[in-house]
Amino acid sequence: MAREVAVLGVGMHPWGKWGRSFVEYGVAAARAALADAGLAWQDVQFVAGGDTMRNGYPGYVAGATFAQALGWTGVQVASTYGACATGAQAIDVARARILAGLCEVALVVGADTTPKGFFAPTGGDRPNDPDWLRFRLLGATNPIYFGLYARRRMEIFGATPEDFARVKVKNSQHGLANPNARYRKAVTLEEVMASPVVSDPLRLLDICATSDGGAAVVLTSLEFARRHATSPVTIAAVSTVTPRFPNTIIEMPNFATDSAASVPAPDVPFKDSIARRAYEAAGVAPDDLDLAEVYDLSTALELDWYENIGIAKPGDAEKLLREGQTTLGGRIPVNPSGGLACFGEAIPAQAIAQLCELTWQLRGQAAGRQVEGARLGIAVNQGLFGHGSAVIARR
C-alpha cells in the first residue's frame, strides 16, 4: 500500500469542437480538479503537463503553459509526451515525484485543440520521419492501421461488421448521461451500418473523431489525502511499458514489424503486456476488475482490448459483447464513460480523462452511468511509436 498515491481531485472541460485555445480547456479542467480536491492552486507543489503537438510551442511546454495561465507560483514543472499515452506519462511523473517524497501535492493537466478530419503529420519535408513517410509513400492514415486490425479479426476470429457496430451502439448508450461527452445520442446498429466506409471494414461511425477537451487530476500522498478526505481513490499501478524486441505486430507509424527470424517473438505480445504489467504491480487479476476504460480508437480495437487486458480469451471478445457482459449492468462494463465513441480523441487529455472516469466510478459519482459497487478499475491506452499506458485505481 505504501506505493500508492491518492486521487484527491478530478476535473474536465467538456469534449467538443470548441475551436478555442487548448490552454483554456486545461485551466478549466485544473480549476475543476482543484475545487474537487478542496485545494487552492497555491497548494500545488508540482505540475505535470501533457504536451500537444498541434498547438505550437506552448503545446510542447504544456506544464509551464498551464502554470503560467493559472498564475506563476514558482511551482516545479515537467512536460511529457507519449502520443495517445501522454496523459499516463504525466500521471506517472507526478506519481513518482510523490512516491519519492519530493512533494505531497501534484497537479496533472492535459488538453488539446484539434483540426478537423484525419490526423496529419507535422508540416515540412521530412524524409527521415516515419510518420511523414507513411503518409507520403503509403497514404497510411491512422484508420488504415485500424482497418488492418479489424480485417484481421474478421479473418481469424470470424468477427463481423455488425459486431463492430454493436460496440458503437453500446458506447453511445453508456455516454448518454455523461456531461463531459461530446456525442450524447443513442446510435442504432442500422445507423452505423449505413454510415460511409472509411477504411474497409470500418465505417465512419466505427472510428473515433478528433476533439477538443481538457482533463486534470490532483494527486497527493496517502498521508496528505487522509487529512483531507475519507477513503480517497488511490492509484495502485501505472504501466508505461514499451514493446519487447521483436515486436511482431504492425503498429503506427511503422512500415514493417520487427523480424522474428533470429530472436523469437516474446511470449507476451506488446498490447497484452501493457495491462499485465499493471496487474502485477497492483497485485490484482483481470477477474478482480469491476470496470475498464479502454482506448476505442475504432470499435474493432475495443474488442481487441478485451483480450489484451485478459477479460476475454482470444476470439471470445465478440461473445462477451453480444452477451452484454461489457454493457452497464453486465459482468465487466467496458467504457461506461461512453469511451472515445462518445468523446472523440483529445490526445494528451485522454488518459487523464480515463482516470477521471475511474475516480467518479469508484466514488459512486458517475450519475447515469454508474457501475454499482465498483471498487477496482483499469484504464488502458496505447500511443504510436510504442507507448503503452495502463492505470489501475481502487477504493
Binding site: 478530419g117 497514404g139 497510411a140 485500424f146 524486441f245 512500415f255 514489424t257 520487427d258 523480424s259
Partner: protein, 148 residues
C-alpha cells in the same frame, strides 16, 4: 504521353529500381543475422547491439496478413489524384524474414477477392507524377494461382 516521363524512385534506397525483379532493400546484422526494413544504422536486437549491417534484398513474395483501403483523400504529404481514387493497403508477411511489410495493393487487383494467407508479390508502380517524372514505389500484387 506519360510513357515519355522519367521514372524515379519516390524514396531513395528503399527498393531495387528493377521493374522486372523489384526487391525491397533492407539491412541485416552481421552478428545476429536479424534483418530490418527500412534500413537501420545499428542492430535493434537488445541482446546483440551489432553495429555492422549489410544491405540485403528482402524476399519478393509473402503471405497476406491483412488488408484495408482508404476511401477518402489523406492529407499531405500524400499526393492524391484529382479526383481522388481509393486504394488498398496490404500487410504482407515474408516467410524467411519473419516480418510483416506494408504496401499499397496495385489498383487493378480486386480487393473483394483478397484472403488472409494468400500469396502476394512485390511490384513497382507509379505513386504520383508531375509534369516530367513518375515517382515510383513498391506495391503488392496478388499472385495468380494456376487455377485462375
Amino acid at each position: 504521353m506519360s510513357a515519355a516521363k522519367q521514372r524515379v524512385p519516390a524514396v531513395e534506397g528503399w527498393f531495387r529500381m528493377d521493374e522486372a525483379e523489384p526487391r525491397l532493400l533492407g539491412v541485416r546484422c552481421r552478428s545476429c543475422r536479424t534483418p530490418y526494413f527500412p534500413k537501420e544504422a545499428f542492430c535493434r536486437n537488445p541482446a546483440c547491439g551489432g553495429a555492422e549491417l549489410e544491405e540485403v534484398a528482402l524476399s519478393r513474395r509473402g503471405r497476406l496478413w491483412s488488408w484495408t483501403d482508404n476511401r477518402y483523400a489523406p492529407p499531405p504529404p500524400f499526393v492524391a489524384k484529382d479526383p481522388f481514387e481509393p486504394y488498398t493497403v496490404a500487410a504482407v508477411e515474408l516467410e524467411a524474414e519473419r516480418m510483416v511489410v506494408l504496401g499499397q495493393v496495385v489498383a487493378e487487383a480486386d480487393a473483394t477477392q483478397l484472403r488472409v494467407g494468400q500469396e502476394m508479390e512485390l511490384v513497382l508502380d507509379t505513386l504520383f507524377e508531375d509534369e516530367t517524372r513518375q515517382y515510383v514505389v513498391w506495391k503488392w500484387r496478388p499472385v495468380r494461382s494456376s487455377a485462375a
